[in-house]
């Protein structure tokens, strides 16, 4: 038994190492190649030793109307906006569901559960036509405002708030003369901080990575978000500039990788938490 277990453990460990390498290798190749010249890449596309063409690749990349800084700022605006609105209003809606007794409360909650699964992509034609009609296609607000209604986040917040927020605290604040909106902002929101932090990370990442909606709505280059910028790397202008392509990919992926590794503990815990509550 003991020996068998040891063999099993070693086999599992080796498999895990293999999978870990599989996760990491594409990004390692990407980062290393972003420092190598196109000629070097064409001779040997895989190398673990960085070269010295980082600045040169960057120059070629930026020379072809690729402006990651603009994409970065736009993506940041959208993602921060989406995260702020989604977390605040989802918590507010959850508060309405947990704290108050009103006639349609249960119906409203069932309704939220029912619409949780509807993907935004499916309704994009109507959304695009609506936005086009009011001539707002190149306004980033059209990517941000829909976040006020985030059904799955409301669901999560409600599940978290139910045991976390005691109605007695709300009651005693009322006796002290606090207004309802004040109680929500000053008492409920701080209690919900851990849930808000978890949801904020996922809201930010999914908004940051979203390609479909911006691709449909944005036609003005100055409004492009990062994923659209990335999609330009697929175009003909970079056809043989391998170094520049790897550079562009690295510029967009490396910040995410670094932030992920720094926050990984919370992110992994957040994924697990989301599934248990969901």
């Amino acid at each position: 038994m003991g020996k068998n277990q040891t063999v099993k453990k070693i086999v599992i460990f080796i498999l895990c190492i293999f999978l870990a390498l599989l996760s990491v290798m594409p990004f390692v190749i990407m980062i290393v190649n972003s420092t190598r010249s196109t000629t070097e890449i064409q001779q040997h596309a895989v190398s673990l030793i960085p070269s010295v063409y980082f600045a040169n690749n960057l120059k070629i990349l930026l020379g072809k109307s690729f402006n990651p800084a603009v994409g970065f700022v736009n993506s940041l605006l959208v993602s921060v906006g989406v995260t702020a609105l989604a977390t605040y209003f989802s918590t507010l809606t959850a508060y309405a569901l947990v704290v108050y007794e009103w006639k349609f409360r249960n119906a409203f909650f069932s309704f939220i559960m029912a619409i949780m699964m509807i993907p935004a992509q499916i309704t994009m034609i109507g959304f695009y036509q609506m936005v086009y009609k009011i001539q707002m296609t190149n306004h980033l607000s059209m990517l941000i405002l829909p976040a006020i209604a985030s059904p799955s986040m409301v669901f999560f917040m409600r599940q978290y708030m139910k045991p976390a927020l005691s109605l007695e605290i709300v009651q005693s604040a009322r006796i002290d003369g606090a207004k309802e909106f004040f109680i929500f902002n000053q008492i409920a929101l701080p209690i919900m901080k851990p849930a808000i932090a978890t949801q904020a990370i996922f809201s930010f990442v999914s908004s940051w990575n979203n390609l479909f909606t911006p691709l449909v709505l944005l036609t003005d280059q100055k409004k492009y978000t990062l994923p659209i910028m990335i999609s330009l790397l697929r175009g003909d202008i970079y056809k043989t500039e391998y170094g520049a392509i790897y550079m562009g990919l690295t510029l967009t992926a490396l910040p995410l990788i670094i932030v992920y590794l720094l926050l990984s503990k919370y992110i992994i815990a957040g994924v697990a938490l989301g599934s248990v509550k969901g």
Partner: protein, 324 residues
């Protein structure tokens, strides 16, 4: 007195859910209905917003989509790509989850493994798609470089022009991006099972394999259902990877319904009406499939229990009312 107090607060319930409701009506319900309406019109052409309803044959767009060979290809591709990635993804995730939660031995560094397995999921799908396009490049992409250097291939191979290989790479990318996520969810599900059940199984002399099939699996049924439904809905909407990896090619081999809808509406003839009809077809399929899955896999005992509890609650409320 107290009852009266809570009653007067009801208006805040409405007030605080109002922003959600308004945003939902404007940005979600209205576009959904509008999409459905456009499906019955002649709306096409770049920049057009005015339309007429199709009088002679209201379902013309739906018929056109359903009889379009390209849509058939896109639909069967979408199913194939989803099934072929979901099965190995779930298998691998279950296996890893079972190992990582095994009470008899601990794998060294499993925290670090979790972090690395999940990492591809957090990276922008657009970046991943173009990165893999570069990795499989011809004649001198990294994959070709490795295969020729280790003598597995005698000369570089153009992977991306072969239909099967292109599909398999998309399947690989999807699996690679999602098995870590599924694994973490399953681990948290397994950790949620009461340890006493495992102890009882151990006392009864069950081996690891038996414990997995008889104890672990039945107890994470709900989480498996959650994984299945979310993955299926995501899979039916698959867009970023197939759109940017090979633009749906070669020869439509990686064309998914999501890419089909996008191409119909935002390139070529700008057929918003066809795209809307295709969207609605997918909408109905998603609703039916997820309702069906919930129905089939719902925990019958739990449903019965809930019914009883509801009745008791009603009874309780009635009694309270009478007492008052």
């Amino acid at each position: 007195m107290k009852k009266k107090g809570t009653f007067s607060y009801a208006k805040y319930g409405y007030l605080f859910s109002l922003p959600f409701l308004l945003a939902f009506l404007i940005f979600s319900l209205y576009p959904t209905l509008y999409t459905a309406v456009i499906g019955f019109t002649d709306l096409k052409g770049i920049g057009k917003t005015t339309f007429n309803f199709l009088v002679n044959d209201p379902f013309a767009n739906f018929k056109a989509v359903l009889s379009s060979p390209t849509f058939h290809t896109a639909f069967s591709n979408t199913l194939k790509l989803w099934i072929c990635n979901f099965v190995p993804q779930l298998g691998l995730a279950l296996l890893l989850a079972a190992w990582f939660t095994d009470r008899r031995f601990k794998i060294p560094g499993n925290g670090a493994f979790k972090v690395l397995f999940y990492m591809p999921n957090i990276i922008t799908a657009a970046t991943v798609a173009i990165l893999f396009n570069a990795l499989f490049g011809y004649p001198m992409g990294p994959v070709n470089d490795l295969l020729t250097r280790f003598g597995i291939l005698s000369e570089p191979f153009n992977f991306l022009v072969k239909k099967d290989i292109a599909q398999n790479i998309v399947i690989f990318i999807q699996t690679w991006m999602w098995y870590g996520y599924t694994m973490i969810i399953l681990i948290s599900g397994i950790l949620g099972i009461s340890p006493e059940i495992f102890e009882a199984a151990e006392v009864d002399g069950a081996n690891g394999w038996q414990t997995f099939w008889m104890v672990t699996l039945p107890n994470i049924k709900t989480i498996l259902l959650f994984t299945l439904v979310t993955s299926l809905i995501g899979g039916l909407n698959m867009f970023d990877i197939p759109k940017l990896f090979l633009l749906g090619g070669p020869d439509n081999a990686t064309l998914t319904v999501g890419v089909f809808i996008y191409n119909q509406a935002f390139s070529g003839g700008y057929l918003y009406n066809r795209a809307a009809a295709a969207s609605m077809i997918m909408f109905v399929i998603i609703v039916v499939v997820s309702a069906l899955l919930f129905y089939i896999l719902r925990d019958r005992d739990e449903a019965a229990l809930r019914k009883i509890m509801k009745q008791q609650e009603k009874e309780h409320r009635r009694k309270m009312k009478e007492a008052k």
